[in-house]
């Protein structure tokens, strides 16, 4: 029992670290997504006048 209890305690610490790492990785991806959204907006904005001219 003792061994299992101590092992669990150790494992909890490891898992907490692992969860933290996944969280950090997600944050990086969130930033990337924001970057993509900004770029996409820029492209749309540069496309708008072209389309306007095309229609006329």
């Amino acid at each position: 029992w003792d061994k299992l209890l101590i092992g669990n305690n150790q494992k909890i610490i490891e898992l907490n670290d692992a969860v933290q790492k996944v969280k950090n990785d997600q944050q990086v991806l969130d930033q990337e997504l924001e970057f993509i959204a900004t770029q996409h907006k820029e492209l749309e904005e540069s496309l708008a006048p072209l389309e306007k001219e095309f229609v006329n």
Binding site: L4, N8, I12, L15, L29, E32, I36, L43, L50
Partner: protein
């Protein structure tokens, strides 16, 4: 109780494994999106250049 803990942590281990896989797949998709955006930016630029030329002629 201690055994339940051990069992639960095994489950968490598996979930984390799955999350890492999803993360890897999301990273790949993001890279692909970035590549696509760069490509579309290039295409838009080409249209702008051609349109400008047409206008001057």
């Amino acid at each position: 109780e201690t055994e339940t803990h051990a069992l639960y942590m095994k489950k968490v281990d598996g979930e984390l494994q799955e999350l890492r896989q999803r993360h890897a797949s999301a990273t790949a998709k993001i890279l692909e999106h970035k590549r696509k955006l760069a490509e579309m930016g290039h295409r838009i630029l080409r249209i702008v250049v051609k349109q400008e030329c047409t206008r001057k002629v």
